[in-house]
């Protein structure tokens, strides 16, 4: 946002084309590999259905790559400059979807265009990340003041609240790791973290145990997650674990998984696509994919570390924080380590807006890297 002194070897206010060679392209390679694997797995998971999701997902990947090229070419400082209006437009759209959106899976979080739908909350996360990066970059202190933390929480909390109102709990939750990652890097004293945790726990416990009545609790749970099925959750987890376990070491082979091919496993092309992958490619496949994710995230972290300025660092950290949480939570959920919530796996799960948003994030991260020598 503001020009700074930095270790610069070449001073120019435009990135030079020869800097292209120095960009961490391995990030893009990992992303494309994951997306390709995603297409194959989505096809395997849905080919027996009347509707194969492969062509639709392929279209989204194509659109995503175009969007990646576009965001790569835009200077993130320009984005940062316009981050407030972009953020406000995002809020307006999130509000509009509450009234004009269509309901899918119990959540009113979609704009339908024929058979395609857009989920504005995915893009709101990006605009929130940009504004947060701009704001936290401007604090420019070793540790954040409480007021600054509060403002950052407000920036993330506003769109998050709107997404909660859409009853899309999974998407709303995803604002948290984004915020948490950026706050952590900006510097939050551990006393503040502990105090916040203790306050939240005590407040929640008091509210839950002494203030709220049973029916209110049920109502809250149902409100937060209308797709919650008391009978269905157990079935889903059981089928998922059977799918994962029966893959054993080497897997049953592509398109050979009985759990998915025989359709025992619900949501197998979306939130549980990783179970299909685990069934068909085995433990080796699981480790391979986790390593691809690690490659993506750790290389992204390198981009953050060598970024030109605070805005760049924070933007990359925020984007990666959200991404990493998706990966960790989803893969943990599929194997039964954490409760089932509607959180998809980046690049692998079927889902247009989500895929598009992830490619845009790749474009932004690479863009930060491309401009690391720029000085204005």
């Amino acid at each position: 946002m503001r020009p700074t002194s930095a270790p610069l070897t070449l001073a120019d206010n435009r990135p030079h084309l020869r800097h292209l060679a120095g960009v961490r392209w391995v990030l893009l390679v990992a992303a494309l590999a994951l997306a390709g694997l995603g297409l194959a797995t989505v096809h395997s998971a849905s080919s027996e259905l009347s509707l194969d999701y492969l062509p639709r997902q392929a279209v989204w990947v194509g659109v995503g790559i175009l969007a990646l090229a576009l965001t790569f070419s835009i200077d993130y400082q320009t984005l940062s400059k316009f981050s407030l209006p972009i953020y406000i437009v995002g809020l307006v759209i999130l509000t509009a979807v509450l009234f004009l959106g269509t309901v899918r899976g119990g959540a009113r979080s979609w704009f339908g265009f024929g058979s395609f739908g857009l989920q504005p909350s995915e893009f709101a996360k990006l605009s929130t990340a940009v504004l947060l990066a701009r704001y936290l970059a401007s604090t420019n202190r070793r540790y954040l003041r409480l007021r600054q933390i509060a403002i950052a929480c407000g920036i993330a909390g506003l769109p998050m609240a709107l997404v909660v109102l859409q009853r899309d709990m999974g998407s709303a939750m995803m604002f948290m790791p984004l915020l948490a990652g950026m706050l952590f890097v900006s510097g939050v004293r551990w006393q503040v973290v502990v105090a916040a945790l203790v306050l939240a726990l005590i407040g929640g416990a008091i509210l839950w145990n002494f203030v709220m009545l049973d029916y209110q609790k049920t109502r809250v749970l149902t409100f937060l997650d209308p797709g919650r099925e008391p009978l269905g959750a157990g079935y889903q987890l059981r089928q998922s674990k059977i799918a994962v376990g029966s893959g054993q070491v080497a897997g049953r082979g592509y398109m050979q998984g009985t759990q998915s091919q025989l359709r025992f496993l619900p949501a197998r092309h979306t939130d549980f696509v990783f179970a299909v992958l685990a069934e068909e490619w085995g433990f080796l496949g699981v480790v391979g994919v986790l390593m691809l994710y690690a490659t993506y995230i750790l290389n992204g972290a390198l981009v953050a570390v060598r970024a030109r300025d605070r805005t760049g660092i924070l933007l990359v950290v925020g984007l990666l924080g959200g991404f990493a949480f998706h990966v960790v939570y989803n893969t943990a959920m599929v194997v039964g380590l954490v409760p089932i919530t509607g959180i998809p796996l980046p690049f692998l799960s079927y889902g247009g807006s989500f895929t598009l948003a992830n490619f845009i994030a790749v474009g932004m991260i690479l863009g930060v890297d491309f401009r690391r020598y720029v000085n204005r």
Binding site: S5, N140, T258, L262, Y293, L337
Partner: protein, 593 residues
């Protein structure tokens, strides 16, 4: 440009900690996968093999419903549905084209049906079309080899044999709501049909039985190989009601074209033999999914056809309420049967001129004549002496002002006013002039026809409250005798006999040869009348409502009949013939048997 030194390094220094966090998370996750896939892999592999069992529900047959004479009121009839098994489809387009041709509808309609259910659980065949004709069924069955994806499913639909005749009592079925599923997940699952109203609703668990299940072994293509096991469905229990279809038919026929309610119950045990609410609706509308237009039409119909007027509509009881005052006056000793009041057709009470319905007046009337000829002046004076709170006390003893405990849900409590009610609900003190209105059953007092029937049953059985019910054999004990002088009750009973059987009685038109009927007429003013206007001169919607409440035989009552006709004019005119008709039908049948 101002150059600010950015605190950059402190940001960078914190990134590695996040990297460590991620690495640890990924290692934990990889370990979990190692455990499930490598350590326990064999076990899960075996489970996956066993997972080839496919469970198919077997629907339980819902119990039938009979009237008291064993006549079938609700039956199940087979209906044929066309299902599409996606796992067996080779050429879905050709199959849909074929089905569209047979069913005589467009392919897009079928495609939307598929799209709507695209997210249904594995192996669940998709419902393409409902209610196929037998001709369609045979054409599709013949093409089985060519189009193996089609299945014909026989579903049993409720057939309400007598349609609108019993609609308000029996109710109808509807798809289980989320509330049903949450309330009783053991018995209800999504897509189940459950009783929505009336008997179908209250006795749903009894009627529904329990669905069974077949476990089929499917191959890797999802095709059924053999049956692995089955748990048969348990049919629902049949339900015998206390209703008498014939009485129901007669009353419905009489009320055709009018709005009103008729109730008949046995005062000895509370069995409800007849419960008619007119106008009614056709319950078969609910057998198939209602479209929103049909629903709106039902709900917004000016006659409120969905209302069960016997328990959900409340009105003032009119002169029928005088029997409560008579019992109160005698029990309290406020009056003696021999006390007389002079009725000149009108009188001055609380500085207000109040009228008797009979313009020329009744002359000297005692209690018996006051009941028989329904003299208003007599009861104005009695009401004035008793006061509103004592009147309310006795009204409540007779079961008014609260639901009767009827086994069909949705009952209104009605309203019995007293001074406290006036203060809490109207925030104004009770106005003594109102007591005069309440004394003849007008003003802020509301009852349902079923409450009136129960009140009359107390007189008929000598002082006990019954619990009205339609399920035969349900234990519904009578209450202990209510705190009313038994002599008062028998006096009022005798006076009610006079209403129907003596000269000048207001219910003389009900008189039947050979059967002693006792009764009381009632009229509810729809608009307050300043003078004696003849009802025939008023437009229909302003005409009075007519009540007739009765029991028979007078000496040993076995049936209480209450009729209420909206805008029916004076009590004896519109409601009395209905009551007479019911007794004729009832006693003709019992003579025959």
């Amino acid at each position: 440009m101002k150059r600010v030194r950015e605190q950059r390094e402190c940001l960078v220094s914190r990134v590695p900690r996040l990297q460590v966090l991620l690495a640890v998370s990924l290692i934990v996750i990889a370990t979990a996968y190692w455990r499930v896939q490598v350590v326990q892999g064999d076990r899960y592999h075996g489970l996956a093999e066993n997972n080839r069992l496919r469970r198919v529900p077997i629907k339980a047959t819902r119990g039938l419903i009979f009237d008291r004479n064993g006549r079938v009121l609700v039956d199940n009839v087979p209906s044929y549905n066309l299902l599409l098994d996606r796992t067996r489809s080779n050429d879905i387009d050709a199959a849909l084209a074929f089905a569209a041709e047979v069913l005589d509808q467009g392919v897009p309609a079928l495609e939307t049906a598929i799209e709507r259910q695209a997210d249904s659980s594995p192996y669940e065949p998709i419902l393409l079309a409902e209610n196929l004709t037998l001709a369609d069924v045979s054409r599709i069955s013949i093409a089985e080899l060519e189009f193996p994806e089609f299945q014909i499913d026989v579903e049993h639909l409720r057939l309400y044999r007598h349609g609108s005749l019993t609609a308000h009592i029996l109710g109808y079925l509807g798809e289980a709501t989320e509330a049903d599923l949450a309330r009783d997940p053991d018995n209800y699952s999504a897509g189940d049909l459950v009783g929505r109203k009336g008997v179908e609703r209250v006795f749903d668990l009894l009627l529904r039985g329990r669905d069974g299940e077949r476990e089929l072994v499917v191959d890797s293509r999802g095709r059924t190989r053999t049956e692995h096991g089955r748990r048969p469905a348990r049919s629902g229990n049949n339900l015998h009601l206390t209703l008498d279809l014939e009485l129901q038919q007669e009353a419905t026929r009489y009320l055709e074209g009018r709005a009103g309610a008729a109730v008949a119950l046995d005062p000895r045990n509370g069995e409800v033999l007849m419960l008619v609410s007119a106008p009614s609706y056709d319950p078969s509308l609910f057998t198939r999914r209602l479209n929103s237009e049909q629903w709106r039409e039902l709900v917004e119909s000016p006659n409120q056809v969905l209302q069960n007027r016997t328990i959900q509509n409340t009105h003032a009881p009119g002169s029928i309420f005088k029997v409560v005052l008579a019992n109160a006056g005698l029990t309290e000793g406020t009056i003696e049967p021999s006390d007389s009041v002079f009725c000149a057709g009108s009188t001055q009470i609380y500085n207000r001129r109040t009228r008797c319905w009979l313009r020329r007046g009744h002359g000297w009337v005692n209690l018996r004549r006051a009941i028989k000829e329904s003299c208003d002046i007599y009861f104005y004076h009695l009401g004035q002496k008793l006061g509103i709170n004592r009147i309310a006390h006795y009204a409540r003893l007779f079961g008014l002002g609260r639901p009767t405990g009827f086994d069909i849900p949705g009952e209104k409590a009605g309203l019995i006013p007293d001074t406290e009610w006036s203060l809490t609900h109207r925030r104004s003190p009770w106005y003594p002039g109102e007591t005069i209105s309440v004394a003849i059953g007008q003003g802020p007092i509301l009852v349902t026809p079923l409450q009136v029937a129960r009140m009359i049953a107390v007189l008929a059985n000598g002082g006990r409250l019954v619990t009205p019910h339609v399920r035969r054999g349900s234990r519904s004990p009578l209450s202990a005798p209510i705190a009313v002088d038994p002599q008062a009750i028998s006096f009022v009973r005798e006076a009610m006999w006079a209403v129907v059987n003596e000269k000048h009685g207001t219910g003389l038109s009900v008189r039947l040869q050979g059967i002693d009927i006792a009764g009381k007429t009632g009229t509810v003013q729809v608009v307050e009348q300043k003078s004696w206007t003849s009802n025939e001169d008023l437009p229909e919607q302003l005409r009075d409502h007519a009540w007739f409440a009765s029991f028979a035989p007078a000496s040993d009552p076995e049936l209480v009949v209450v009729a209420f006709v909206e805008h029916g004019g004076h009590g004896s005119a519109a409601a009395a013939p209905l009551v007479k008709l019911i007794y004729e039908t009832y006693f003709r049948a019992s003579d025959a048997s």
